[in-house]
């Protein structure tokens, strides 16, 4: 199967909300090591709001749904992750304008737009120990797999594996962006909370595709 349907997008968002709720304490613990102990609560608060909004747009096109998610996160998360993930879904949604399903190229375009959006807004570079360190490798892996002609699920699996690796690779990094950067060398040895939520979000899509 090489497309992602609108129903799958909706179930992905539901799965995301569930996984972020389940990992709320975990993400907050990661954030208390090098941040301010709120990333889990922030993301959970945002996706709870998304779940409230979702029924009102579930019959719209994918672009519309994703943009609504973005707007909702922007107006409910706050912190650094609110505008960043908000932009992620907004720009992803713009790349899915009027679509009822996403083929592999659409999927690449959506993730490309989403990741570009985060980078433009946050100005983080790879290696700065942010969500970008999970998202960029995932995007690259997705592109490569799609170029090789793999199906959506396999290509996504490659992307998620890359995201997971990127997330783990943040551990030895010294943070240069966001709150963790104030810790200087003391940020080394801790996994970045935002990279972790990025991995969880992509993995939720993969699990939705596999279900």
């Amino acid at each position: 199967m090489s497309t992602v349907t609108k129903e799958q997008v909706v179930r992905w968002l539901e799965a995301t909300a569930a996984v972020l709720e389940a990992n709320k304490g975990y993400l907050t613990d990661l954030d208390s090591a090098i941040g301010d102990a709120d990333h889990g609560t922030n993301m959970d608060r945002g996706f709870k709001k998304v779940m409230e909004k979702l029924p009102t747009v579930a019959d719209k096109d994918i672009g519309n749904i994703l943009k609504t998610v973005g707007m909702t996160l922007i107006s409910s998360v706050g912190g650094a992750s609110g505008p960043l993930y908000g932009t992620f879904y907004m720009r992803g949604g713009m790349a899915a304008d009027a679509k009822e399903e996403l083929d592999n190229n659409d999927l690449v375009n959506v993730l490309q737009g989403a990741v570009d959006g985060i980078i433009q807004r946050g100005r983080a570079q790879p290696g700065d120990k942010t969500m970008v360190d999970a998202l960029l490798p995932a995007l690259d892996a997705l592109k490569a797999a799609v170029a090789e002609g793999q199906g959506a699920a396999d290509a996504l699996a490659a992307a998620v594996a890359a995201a997971e690796q990127g997330m783990k690779d943040t551990i030895p990094l010294q943070a240069r962006k966001g709150r963790a950067s104030y810790l200087g060398e003391r940020s080394i040895g801790h996994q970045d909370p935002g990279a972790t939520s990025s991995y969880l979000i992509l993995n939720a899509l993969l699990e939705t595709m596999r279900a």
Binding site: G35, D36, N42, I74, G78, G79, Q174, S181
Partner: protein, 355 residues
């Protein structure tokens, strides 16, 4: 977690309700989106000064809403930047037509959310400008970090620019003054204890019985280094000298020019002998004012020894980190313009004089 709260999700809302009940002569509170605003807003012809940030730093910012200071303040969840719709709705509520100045503490979350808010306000036709406060000398460079945090100077800039707006400065003049006052201010903080975000339920970090955290920000984030606790004089001298001897600091900020975001390189000049300053000794929340006086005593000596003349001071809990024990020191170079607006009347729940 031992706090005077009810259910964790209601903490900020109920505190805002308490403020509204206590200070209805000065301010009102709007819910969903949450913002605190002057009871008499919009004030005809006056530039509106708006700030905001995570909750947990009270009285900042909500407690500084009122005559001569802020027109509105947007509280986020505890230690979490507010969302753009809060600032946008606040801007609409307090804009008299003379425009809105957003005073933004330099944290990624605050910066991004306030930029979005500025875009939304500008799209609505509201004249708007964002000025960053970034005064924490514990952050050494801006190349490998998110740049200096906005800490104690925020309180002073809100007072000074608030008075200027009251006196009829236009938006550009307010922005210029805010930029200048920020460039004149430097701060440093330390903690004797951690603090507990209600939603997390446990302290953000643990400190040993003989340890202190040096160079902290205001969000309970761990500081630059952990040290053995030393006497107040030694702590004060270390912090004062880091501030006084801090070199020129250059960084790039994004401001609006003709509706476009442009990068500007700004440099803060170091203090020099003969400078007059406003000295601000701030409690992080759990440290009583009596201990701040011991700090002030030494700070005054160190300033005198270095040819810095303290011409005004502010001592107390004004920009806090929940119940954290500890303090911060801010020195802000004071020229005549700044002193005039510092001395001007202010009537807010958190700061009041002259009226």
């Amino acid at each position: 977690m031992k706090k005077l709260i009810n259910a964790v999700p209601d903490v900020v809302k109920e505190q805002l309700e308490g403020m509204a009940a206590a200070h209805s002569d000065v301010l009102k509170v709007h819910f969903e989106p949450d913002f605190v605003y002057r009871a008499d807003a919009p004030v005809a012809g006056k530039v509106a000064i708006i700030s905001g940030g995570g909750s947990g730093h009270e009285p900042m910012h909500g407690g500084f809403v009122g005559m001569g200071m802020l027109d509105a303040a947007c509280p986020g969840a505890v230690f979490t930047s507010p969302t753009p719709d809060q600032m946008y709705e606040a801007a609409k509520a307090v804009n008299s037509g003379a425009g809105v100045l957003f005073l933004v503490k330099n944290y990624t979350g605050d910066v991004l959310n306030f930029e979005m808010a500025a875009d939304m306000a500008a799209a609505e036709g509201i004249p708007v400008q964002n000025i960053l406060i970034d005064d924490d000398v514990a952050v050494k460079d801006s190349l490998y970090t998110a740049g200096r945090r906005g800490v104690g100077t925020t309180v002073l800039v809100e007072k000074i620019v608030g008075a200027a707006a009251e006196a009829g400065y236009n938006l550009e003049q307010c922005a210029d003054l805010a930029r200048k006052a920020n460039s004149y201010g430097r701060s440093m903080g330390m903690a004797l204890s951690s603090c507990t975000v209600p939603a997390a339920g446990k302290p953000i970090f643990e400190l040993g019985e003989d340890e202190m955290e040096f160079g902290i920000g205001i969000h309970g984030e761990p500081g630059q280094k952990r040290m053995k606790l030393v006497p107040a004089d030694e702590i004060t001298e270390m912090m004062a000298l880091e501030i006084i001897n801090d070199k020129a600091y250059t960084r790039t900020v994004r401001e609006l020019e003709d509706g476009q975001w442009v990068d500007k390189s700004l440099t803060d000049e170091p203090f020099k002998r003969g400078d007059k300053v406003i000295a601000f000794v701030n409690s992080m929340g759990g440290t009583p004012v009596s201990e701040l006086y011991a700090v002030y005593r030494k700070l005054a000596q160190v300033c005198a020894d270095n040819g810095i003349e303290i011409v005004r001071n502010l001592i107390g809990p004004y920009i806090t980190s929940l119940e954290m024990a500890g303090m911060s020191i801010t020195l802000l170079k004071a020229d005549d313009e700044i002193l005039r607006f510092w001395d001007a009347p202010v009537k807010t729940p958190g700061l009041r004089w002259g009226i």
